[in-house]
């Protein structure tokens, strides 16, 4: 297991280097530091001196990869690439283009992102699995057909529609919850009710269908027939045996997203005024703050890789037959 983990982590390094190189090339070769400076300083009364000062203050006045004017190792460390990209590997994200410490911002914004993403994930998973099990239980009946049709309808609707429709009905017409906003501590609950419910409903159609398909695949297996032959109730068969055996395909889709929960949701955070990492990324993209975007891309890559490793580990947890070589 340990050897496997180490190997996976070593595999991650070239992937992250590749991601880093790609983002560096995109952000620094396509969009020059001069462009960044102009974007940050605006267009009113900006002088070439101000642009030079801006670049110098942020280390963007250095060469990209090799500093011929430096000596020894500084030839490679006193460069934009080292300062802006290599340091990401030790999670030193540096400062945003408007001078804020990115690492601190990320730590502050993780909480609000999790506050919405975690309930949506946990309650959603529970709701989707229950709905799928229900449909499987009533398979080949009118209820199953109606459920599948409802799922197709639900998954055909854009998340934007759920958000705007939910805000209109729940917050505007019925005035049952704040339409947007956030608060600290327990006061955040009323603000989270609507986005969490909408988040669950928005994923209900696609996820329920997916889990239903998985469960139906399992229902034809011999162990199910054996369980029934033992006289187990259908509910016990479904939850005690089918669900457990269907865990591997479920985990494939579920565990990989767990680390990414920290990154939040771009759409939900923006519409509901949740001050999480999703809105941080959107703001950075809109402001062309590439220091933040680069950090978030790197963090996203790391968390995705972590999700994949976790998925592999979870296989062994749910299926004792799986062994890591």
């Amino acid at each position: 297991m340990t050897a496997y983990l180490l190997r996976r982590l070593l595999y991650a390094i070239p992937i992250l280097i590749g991601v880093n190189l790609l983002t560096f090339a995109l952000f620094f070769m396509v969009n020059t530091p001069d462009d960044m400076a102009r974007m940050q300083l605006g267009v009113k009364r900006v002088t070439p001196e101000a642009i030079e000062d801006w670049k110098r203050a942020r280390g963007y006045d250095k060469p990209l990869f090799v500093n011929a004017a430096a000596q020894g190792g500084a030839r490679f460390t006193d460069t934009i690439f080292f300062e802006k990209s290599v340091r990401l590997f030790v999670f030193d994200f540096g400062f945003s283009d408007d001078g804020r410490d990115i690492g601190r911002e990320i730590r502050e914004r993780m909480g609000p992102s999790l506050a919405i993403a975690l309930p949506v994930f946990v309650l959603g998973l529970f709701a989707y699995v229950c709905a799928a099990v229900l449909l499987v239980f009533f398979r080949q009946t009118a209820l199953d057909l109606a459920g599948v049709v409802a799922c197709v309808v639900l998954m055909s609707v854009s998340a934007m529609f759920y958000i705007i429709g939910g805000q209109y009905l729940v917050s505007k017409a019925w005035r049952l919850a704040p339409i947007s906003g956030f608060a600290d501590g327990a006061a955040m609950v009323p603000f989270l009710l609507l986005p969490v419910v909408i988040g669950i409903v928005a994923g209900l159609g696609a996820s329920t269908r997916w889990y239903r398909t998985i469960f139906l695949d399992e229902m034809g297996r011999e162990y199910v027939r054996t369980a029934r032959a033992k006289g187990l109730s259908e509910m016990r068969v479904l939850f005690g045996h089918v669900l457990r055996n269907a865990m591997i395909p479920i985990l494939t889709g579920v565990v990989v997203v767990i680390p990414s929960l920290f990154l939040g949701s771009l759409l939900f955070e923006s519409f509901f005024g949740i001050p999480g990492l999703g809105s941080y990324t959107i703001d950075a993209i809109n402001a062309q703050d590439f220091a933040v975007v680069r950090a978030m891309v790197f963090l996203g890559s790391v968390l995705y890789i972590a999700g994949l490793v976790l998925t592999d580990l979870s296989y062994a947890w749910v299926d004792p037959r799986v062994r890591f070589a």
């Binding site: 009364r45 001196e49 000062d53 203050a57 410490d101 005035r175 919850a177 947007s180 006061a187 009710l193």
Partner: protein, 756 residues
């Protein structure tokens, strides 16, 4: 809304319920939420504010976090919403009077310049600009002004700064500015204004007005060079101490007076003194924030301002909300007792003489999307709102005579509509150096005249009135020249008519017919849109950064406008950075841009077409690269003149030259529509003032009553949802039971039998 503890006191939990709570934590949580909601509107977005706090609070919103709060750097409207209330520059605009009038803010009065010749001899006040070598402004500040409480100004018993040498131990306990246990204050003195002007030259701050001010303030440019050299020799985050550096043209006269010497005669300089760039800044602030480790904790002057204005930033979470609270040390300013005609009748002088600020607290909530913002305004959670295009029909209606007014729905809620023409201009520019549409590179006068007629034909064909009607819901006025209404030099009515594009008919401007555009096009050498010599169709290129579906329809509209005179317009969509590159290199033919005035003087608009401000080669603000020797000469004359008939005459001539040459398609001046609830008092649009919130007041009782009436929760959907869920679950449960019974797998208790 009462705090949750109040609710608990009113709804004590019976002991018998406690085990139930342990078994059903989620249901308990939901029940708690509902119980808390019972005590007031369920959709209340301010659960922490009690009734007393609310009655003194203005609730507003912001859509984007301000980039900078340092007064040397802030230069956007997003930032001015906050910076304008926190800092106290020497001057301000009178809140009520129109046209805009400067008054003292930190300064006791508006300083009058003394003019000196090159020998240092004093000249009369009406000396022509050509004789003036220097202008000297003595700014006398009011005594007794004090800074907001701030740890940078905290001192110990010996009078030494308390937090200017933070130890690692102290630093480890500090995470925000509020973690400093002590705060201090001191009097604002003249030296603080001098220090702030030196800060404009600090290369670490990249002040946007350094280039402009270095041209005027004596010694600012050399100071900037010295500091830049010093910065190069220091580590990137090392402190640059400005105190040892002197600035030749800015000196302290006495404790409450400082002197600024500027080059030549520049009457517009006083307007700059009304901007936050010239607010006082204690040197202690720079020393405090420069301490190692604070920047890493995001504790900087750019994040935690230190001002002497009416408000201070008491809560700074631009990801969620920002709160301004009354600066307890602000005193001495009262609500004005004079205003413009009609202000008294409108109740705008009812609070005359009352100490400012009138509201104790202003809460700004981040609202990025229009829909939540608009709905919260309608529910009474925000005191004012703009009107998005989507909400326009709901908010505004046109009466039979064509006048725009508030809709019946809004009027029933006591909402008022306020409109004001923005001191801005949006235009489509022609590149003066372009071989087709420009006249700059043309060999002879005949060719220049042909290009001029082409520009006029295009200007005529683009029906601004239609554009305003379709795309701005009528919220703009067609521009007759570069100067916006409300600015000195702007002429109303027929006197301000651009006669190249409009006729004056029945007391209003009427666009000349399209046949005139076609005639001009033919005279320009393009009859029916084709080059008379080659027979090739005339194809023009429009560079634009506009993206998205709304922008696409606008661009298509422009294409159709030129199709009316058989010109093919090809839009070239480009990102902002490439667009700026193209402008700098002159690789554009036509382009869209706009300008918001910094101050209410025509110089602030007319310089946009001043030759030496050309974009190509000089990186100036004249993006059209327009150049006309007569115009340039008049501009240099006009900017040094005092306001009066003589100056107006020069301005009229300059505007006439521009209308004749048509370097821009004169676009539009936006009209800002703002909706305000009836409980928000003393509100009057002022596009120049950035500190108007101190004049606003709320009728807290009226607001609380309206919020309660408008936000009564509708609970039947919850019951309906419960019934629907039951209707889904019960048949399913019954079906399950039936099936299990049929298969004989349910025991007598209804639970699954275990066959093992």
């Amino acid at each position: 809304m009462p705090a949750s503890s109040d609710v608990a006191a009113r709804c004590p939990v019976p002991r018998s319920v406690l085990p139930w709570i342990g078994r059903w934590p989620l249901a308990t949580l939901l029940a708690c939420v509902l119980l808390v909601g019972c005590s007031g509107p369920w959709n209340d977005p301010y659960p922490d504010d009690d009734r007393q706090v609310r009655s003194q609070t203005i609730y507003s919103a912001f859509s984007a976090r301000p980039k900078h709060l340092d007064p040397a750097r802030a230069y956007t409207s997003d930032a001015y919403v906050f910076v304008g209330q926190i800092y106290q520059p020497p001057l301000q605009y009178h809140y009520l009077k129109r046209p805009f009038e400067l008054t003292g803010f930190a300064a006791a009065e508006v300083p009058r310049p003394r003019y000196l010749d090159s020998q240092g001899r004093e000249l009369p006040a009406d000396a022509p600009a050509s004789e003036v070598a220097f202008s000297v402004y003595d700014v006398r500040i009011r005594e007794g002004l004090r800074y907001q409480p701030h740890p940078a100004l905290a001192v110990d018993a010996a009078g030494k700064p308390r937090y200017h040498a933070l130890t690692p131990g102290e630093l480890s306990r500090i995470h925000t500015l509020q973690d400093f246990p002590e705060a201090g204050t001191r009097e604002v003195v003249a030296a603080d204004f001098v220090h702030q002007i030196k800060r404009l030259a600090n290369p670490r701050l990249q002040s946007p007005i350094l280039g402009k001010m270095a041209n005027y303030i004596v010694g600012l440019g050399p100071l900037s060079e010295r500091l830049r050299e010093q910065a190069k020799s220091l580590p990137r985050d090392a402190f640059i101490d400005l105190e040892p550096h002197a600035i030749e043209g800015v000196t302290v006269v006495d404790r409450h007076t400082f002197r600024i010497r500027i080059k030549g005669k520049y009457p517009q300089f006083v307007y700059w003194l009304a901007m936050p760039f010239f607010s006082p800044m204690p040197p202690e602030a720079d020393r405090f924030y420069a301490q190692p480790g604070l920047a890493k904790k995001n504790i900087s002057l750019d994040w935690y301002p230190l001002g002497s204005g009416p408000y201070m930033l008491s809560e700074h979470d631009p990801n969620r909300r920002m709160v301004l609270s009354r600066n307890p040390n602000f005193a001495g300013e009262v609500y004005p007792s004079e205003g413009a005609p009609g202000d008294r009748e409108a109740g705008l002088l009812d609070d005359a003489g009352r100490p400012l600020p009138l509201a104790s607290r202003i809460v700004f909530t981040l609202e990025k999307e229009q829909i939540p913002y608009w709905n919260k305004f309608l529910q009474g959670w925000f005191d004012s709102s703009g009107i998005s295009s989507d909400a326009f029909d709901q908010a505004v209606q046109m009466n039979e005579s064509g006048d725009i007014g508030i809709s019946d729905e809004m009027a029933a809620r006591g909402i008022r509509l306020q409109t004001s023409v923005a001191t801005s201009v949006f235009y489509a520019g022609f590149n003066w150096n372009d071989p087709v549409v420009g006249s700059g590179g043309k060999a002879g006068p005949a060719e220049r005249e042909r290009a001029r007629k082409l520009r006029h034909a295009i200007s005529l064909a683009i029906d601004q009135e239609e554009f305003i009607s379709i795309f701005r819901n009528g919220r703009a006025i067609a521009a007759q020249g570069p100067i916006a209404p409300g600015i000195i030099g702007f002429r109303e009515g027929e006197a301000g008519l651009n006669r190249y594009i409009y006729d004056w008919v029945d007391g209003e401007p009427r666009r000349k017919p399209l046949s005139e555009a076609k005639r001009l096009l033919a005279e320009a050498g393009y009859p029916d849109g084709r080059d008379a010599k080659t027979g090739q169709p005339l194809v023009l290129y429009l560079d634009t950064t506009a993206g998205g579906p709304g922008a696409r329809s606008r661009i298509e509209w422009y294409v159709r406008q030129l199709q009316k005179i058989d010109i093919q317009l090809v839009p070239r969509l480009t990102d902002w950075n490439r667009f700026q590159d193209k402008l700098r290199q002159g690789n554009v033919q036509m382009f869209f841009l706009g300008w918001n005035a910094d101050y209410p003087d025509p110089e602030n608009f007319l310089f946009l077409l001043y030759g030496p401000e050309g974009k190509v080669g000089r990186d100036g603000n004249n993006s059209a690269n327009y150049s006309n020797p007569e115009y340039d000469r008049l501009f240099e004359q006009m900017k040094g003149m005092d306001d009066g008939p003589a100056r107006q005459q020069v301005i009229d001539r300059m505007v006439e030259i521009l209308r004749h040459d048509a370097p821009w398609v004169w676009g539009l001046h936006p009209v800002d529509y703002t909706l305000r609830h009836g409980w928000l008092l003393n509100s009057k649009p002022n596009s120049m003032a950035q500190n108007e919130l101190k004049f606003h007041r709320v009728d807290g009782a009226a607001r609380a009553a309206a919020q309660a009436a408008w936000n009564d929760p509708v609970v039947w959907p919850i019951g309906l949802a419960g019934v629907a869920l039951a209707a889904l679950v019960l048949p399913a449960w019954a079906g399950y039971r039936r099936r299990e019974r049929r298969l004989g797998r349910v025991d007598a208790r209804g639970s699954a039998g275990d066959a093992r």
